[in-house]
């Protein structure tokens, strides 16, 4: 077996992650900005709030370890609440309220947990260690929307515009994951001493997220559950914590951020053309814009880790880390969860995108700029998948 399994990740390489994530967020903000110029995502203030989220998240990553980072990333989460509220509908406001209350709980728990762990990151005396662990586990479970703490994410996604959802998932949520990955290095005991709890949360998210995604009719809600499903893999890689585990989780988080923007972007273009939310009742959407359909189909394939897309790079390492941590049984469990993910994506591709439209409806033409931006980003994902060495070297 490869000796990489037993190598640990250093804090030096974790500083490099921050810059990689900051760069990725910058690219995503440009993509989201161009997309929202073609398809407006909310009221006038939407763009200001969206830009603020990007600035806060990037600043939070580059500012380095400490309270400043925590404050900036938490501020990004609260601006995201305002972004949902900004959608203006009663349903969106209700979702924003739930999101706000749960974010307050998560931020309070994480802040208190970090305070107990302290600057030294050493194991606090009993029973403070258990209180700190409880606060951090519950805080991250709520913030990352792990099963069964996921309640805010599907509501927010369903009642927000596609790029609002993409911003929350690809930037706010992934930045929170980055915080957790740092904790894995600085206070490893939070994971190693309570491994069984993390493992249960990871498996629940993988299977629960996939099953709930299968039960959805609204495509944006389905994509929200697919994020919850993927968070299970990221938590598992973080728990394993070795070169394959943590770096696999980092790479998978990066690819998740990009692919989710692509998927929500494609759904947004389709919704713009149809004039209503995309659901399983829609058929033959690809006929309206084949390029956009291609973006969704290929992004879905890339999302579940099919080579040669970027998603494979992280997913493969996560499988290796699963083999290391739980042997063949855990790998088979991961494969089963991936098969469920394949089912819900294939169902949407087959029913919604492909086939013959049920009836001829008048549709507005697709905004070319939005589709061009998505196609370029997708090609970028293919390029990174084909030539990943520069990135894997950078990640460490």
């Amino acid at each position: 077996m490869n000796s990489l399994f037993f190598q640990t990740v250093t804090s030096t390489s974790s500083e490099l992650w921050d810059w990689v994530f900051a760069g990725a967020f910058l690219v995503l903000m440009i993509v989201i900005g161009l997309y929202s110029a073609a398809i407006p995502q909310g009221k006038r203030s939407w763009s200001i709030l969206a830009a603020l989220i990007g600035i806060l998240a990037i600043a939070g990553l580059v500012v380095g370890e400490g309270w400043a980072r925590i404050a900036l990333l938490d501020a990004a989460a609260f601006v995201a609440v305002a972004l949902v509220w900004n959608q203006g509908t009663p349903a969106a406001k209700s979702a924003a309220k739930t999101y706000l209350i749960l974010m307050i709980i998560a931020v309070a728990f994480l802040g208190a947990g970090m305070a107990l762990v302290g600057e030294s990151n050493e194991l606090p005396v009993s029973p403070l260690d258990k209180i700190a662990a409880g606060l951090l586990i519950a805080g991250f479970a709520v913030k990352l929307a792990l099963v069964p703490f996921y309640f805010w994410l599907p509501k927010v996604t369903e009642h927000s515009s596609p790029m609002t959802s993409a911003l929350i998932i690809s930037i706010v949520d992934i930045a929170a994951f980055c915080e957790m990955a740092h904790l894995r290095i600085t206070a490893a005991w939070v994971f190693t001493d309570y491994a069984i709890l993390w493992l249960v949360l990871a498996l629940l998210s993988m299977f629960g997220g996939a099953l709930l995604a299968l039960a959805q009719k609204n495509i944006k809600r389905m994509l929200a559950f697919s994020t919850i499903d993927d968070m299970g893999y990221l938590v598992l890689g973080t728990l394993v914590g070795t070169q394959y585990g943590l770096n696999g989780a980092i790479l998978a988080a990066l690819s998740h951020a990009f692919f989710k923007v692509l998927l929500f972007g494609a759904v947004g273009v389709a919704e713009k053309q149809l004039g209503h939310d995309l659901t399983l009742e829609d058929h033959g959407v690809a006929a309206r814009n084949p390029y956009n359909a291609g973006v969704f189909i290929l992004s879905a394939i890339g999302m579940i880790g099919v080579p040669p897309f970027f998603g494979f790079i992280g997913r493969w390492r996560l499988y290796l880390s699963g083999l290391e941590y739980g042997g063949v049984a855990l790998v088979l469990a991961m494969a089963a969860a991936t098969a469920l993910a394949l089912l819900y994506y294939v169902r949407v591709i087959h029913r919604v995108w492909l086939g013959k439209p049920a009836e001829e409806t008048v549709s507005t033409p697709a905004p070319k700029l939005a589709v061009i931006v998505l196609v370029i980003l997708l090609l970028g994902m293919l390029a990174v998948g084909l030539y990943p060495n520069w990135l894997t070297t950078l990640i460490g």
């Binding site: 077996m1 739930t98 209350i101 749960l102 709980i105 728990f109 029973p127 258990k130 662990a133 409880g134 586990i137 519950a138 479970a141 709520v142 069964p148 703490f149 996921y150 309640f151 805010w152 599907p154 509501k155 001493d193 309570y194 069984i196 709890l197 629960g208 099953l211 709930l212 299968l214 039960a215 959805q216 290796l320 083999l323 063949v328 469920l340 089912l343």
Partner: protein
Amino acid sequence: MNAPTPVSALLHSACYVKAGVYLIARMYSLAHWPHAWNIVVITLGCVTIFVGAIFALAQTDMKRLLAYSTISQLGYIITGLGLGTNLGIAAGLFYCLSHGLFKGTLFLCAGAVQHSTGTRDMRRLGGLAAKMPWTARIWLIATAAIVGVPLTNGFVAKWLLLDAALDANMTIVVIVAWVVSVITAIYMLKATVSVFYGEMPAWLKESHVHDAEPSMLGGMGILGFLCLLFGLAPQILFKGLVNPAVTALGFDWKITLTWFGLQTSSAGVQVTLGAAIALVALLFGALIFAMTRKSRVVANNVAVFTGGEPLTDNAGMRAVDFTVVAESNLAPVYKITDPDPIYFGLWNGIKKLANGFAVVMDPISEKFPIWASALLIVVVFVIVWFI
């Protein structure tokens, strides 16, 4: 099967179905296989060989027949990989490449027939060799390869697999592979005779059926040529592709193949001897035939032996006769081995589970997200306390 023919050729011969084969092969580079894994894969392989061939026997649609044949052939490939020996891995990988070539050729020929006649239904076809001679010739080469006739790559692949199974003392694999080779020959004979030989139906005589265009013939001709090339000189493929792949999977097999795919090591000595005898017998038969035949003129139709029973005008063995015979005699086998009820059951079970989970979680998510979260946080603290 509804895909355009070139897509079917690509999916069934090369890309799609081989992804699973690739995954199984790749598992060798992940970890050492316990013996139980080999047994499981070999068992699955043997069942697949048999079930695919039995279902192919009952088909009347050319592409469906080829699709079931692909299932059967994939069984051969994963059985080779499942053996887990140097020779088994080499056989599996060579079979994988060979299948890509002959199955691609067959699908393209089926596409040419459909393009020319407008149907793939073998019950409506016949006698096309007269109007599509080049398509028929290329089809015959690929059919010879899939059946495992010497001088084709299919022969080398099958020979190597049987050799590997003998070497690994897996007699059951040898028996299954051999018996199903006979079934393969029967269903390919059925397809060949039903489509290209026999009496041409009246509607085809009236329609403007023509051979495939040069560009189409070129595509399938190249694949057909490679079937012969790698049957005559398989070392080319072994040196360039198979052996590096075998090494990459952690195995070490020194090429002991000669021209025509004959083995010079292990159990292959006896096997090669058998092949040589078979080849000599074939050549001897051909020589006697050439020396004794009186004329090059052959009757168009040969009367069917009926034992004195009067026949109707169009009596003869057609595609549907094979199908009826297979379906009536193998009905219990079809019922037991049909995987559709299992897949549908599995899919319905997953859907029920997913909907049941959503029925429980959705009301909580919609009505009491805060209280539910608070309760779950308490649960986390309790668990943390007792860990």
